[in-house]
């Protein structure tokens, strides 16, 4: 907090805008999680937070610390890369588990498995 005075105004404003955008997107995603009806619709909502939401927050972090320390701080890119590579695994696992459950229960909301 003691370093805040050293940050030029443009960087502070840009950081704040990026942080707020990321936070708002994540909040909208969470609202969607509440508002949507079925599991398959709900699974879409939090991806707002895990894509552009976290992207904006990481950009803010990169900008803030790069300006503060007067050198390029880019190891946040690793977080981005690892998020992009690992999120599909969790989502696919959840979606396939739900699909398996619904097919077992004989729900007509889901497509049947492809038949030969």
């Amino acid at each position: 907090m003691t370093h805040l005075a050293e940050i030029p105004a443009w960087a502070a404003v840009l950081t704040a805008v990026l942080l707020l955008t990321g936070a708002v997107l994540t909040l909208i995603g969470t609202v969607g999680l509440l508002r949507f009806d079925s599991f398959y619709q709900r699974v879409h909502a939090p991806t707002l937070g895990s894509t552009l939401g976290i992207g904006c927050i990481l950009l803010a972090s990169m900008l803030f610390f790069s300006v503060l320390e007067s050198r390029a701080i880019i190891h946040e890119l690793l977080i981005t890369a690892l998020m992009v590579v690992t999120t599909p695994i969790t989502l696919m696992l959840l979606a396939r588990a739900a699909l398996y459950r619904d097919r077992t229960e004989g729900s007509d909301e889901v497509p049947p498995p492809p038949s030969d």
Binding site: Q41, H44, L48, M92, V110
Partner: protein, 166 residues
């Protein structure tokens, strides 16, 4: 083809990536960091070799960069689209559903990249992949026009991924 090369450097791209990750984490390009990172990434790639991962190479780096930019734009666009759907007042007029898409892409890393792209763009979720028929089952939040989605995924991503990986 080159036994010595493939023995000591089985996955050149993977080794280079691991070294890059190591340097980024340490935030340093000092000789000591490079040597230690180099040894670690060579050892990790050699360990992966015993797992017998499918090989594959990225053919056109420039096309990969343009695909990355395209996906970044799509991520922003679909974030806005999904945010609008969530904030739209009232209930019930959402048409979402499953969509089965036949694919021509078969390269394993191409399919993995397609999964990352579809997950990273809100509004589409990869549900299942059928290896024998080479189709994917997606769930789409805003499924108004099925053909439009099929054209989008096949035309926008699949052809580019096939250029890159096949």
């Amino acid at each position: 083809m080159r036994p010595a090369m493939s023995r000591w450097l089985p996955y050149p791209m993977m080794t280079a990536t691991l070294l890059g990750v190591w340097l980024l984490l340490n935030e340093s390009v000092a000789p000591g960091t490079i040597i230690l990172g180099g040894v670690l990434s060579l050892a990790t790639a050699a360990t992966l070799n015993t797992l017998g991962l499918p090989g594959g190479r990225l053919r056109r780096p420039r096309a990969a960069v343009s695909l990355l930019l395209l996906v970044l734009v799509d991520i922003v666009r679909s974030n806005i689209a999904v945010a609008k759907i969530i904030l739209r007042p009232g209930k019930g007029e959402r048409v979402s559903g499953f969509l089965r898409i036949p694919l021509d892409l078969r390269a394993p890393y191409g399919l993995a990249t397609l999964a990352c792209i579809l997950t990273a763009t809100p509004g589409t979720v990869w549900v299942a992949y059928d290896r024998s028929r080479n189709t994917i089952l997606l769930h789409i939040l805003d499924l108004v026009d099925e053909q439009e989605w099929i054209d989008l995924i096949k035309g926008r991503y699949e052809t580019r991924l096939m250029e890159l990986f096949e």
